[in-house]
Symmetry: C2
Subunit: 115 residues, 2 copies
């Protein structure tokens, strides 16, 4: 990553960024967990995940930075929960990406016999 400027369309850059937030099973598990049980404190997660408390906190930070999770730090009993709007938006972003890709893709090549 030596030279990096305005290289990719912002739509793709932003989708990639959020995909990155989903690119670790622990973070997917956190989202699932938070979605299931609202008002979840971090401790629940540490118990539910095979990771040290510091690591869970770090993953939460990543999710928070990506905007997928909201956290209210009520002192020692932080409350994290999923950001439903963000999650919905991301879902739609993925959906339109796939929709476009799949609709534009021809079933097979018209001329070349490759695929």
């Amino acid at each position: 990553m030596l030279t990096k400027a305005a290289l990719f369309p912002t739509t793709l850059a932003s989708l990639a960024k959020q995909a990155k937030a989903l690119s670790h099973p622990a973070r997917l598990a956190i989202i699932e967990h938070l979605a299931a049980r609202e008002t979840c404190v971090c401790g629940d997660l540490v118990d539910a995940l095979p990771l040290a408390q510091a690591t869970v906190s770090q993953h939460l930070k990543v999710l928070k930075a990506a905007g997928l999770v909201k956290g209210e730090v009520n002192g020692p009993r932080s409350c994290y929960c999923v950001d439903l709007d963000a999650l919905t938006g991301l879902r739609e972003a993925f959906d339109s990406f796939f929709r476009e890709a799949l609709s534009e893709a021809p079933t097979c090549a018209p001329d070349a016999g490759c695929c």
Copy 2:
């Protein structure tokens, strides 16, 4: 990543893996490009992307490893194209992940006044 065993449900692990494949704008751009123009050789991509040929080839390798792209190496004129089945499957995997997360998520906490 010092100790890693069977830690997460395979569903999440696999979704995370594929999300990782989508977690770079160049790879999203590649998928879009391949989806739009079938029978795409790598050269097209190198022209379309602001990256060196070696780097594009590397990204293609990642996509291929993730199963999202099929590549037939016809000598000097490799033909890469999106794997429609895989893309469809991934779309559904994301969709069911989001569906579950969003449907299970209560709009707000029943008791705590945090979120």
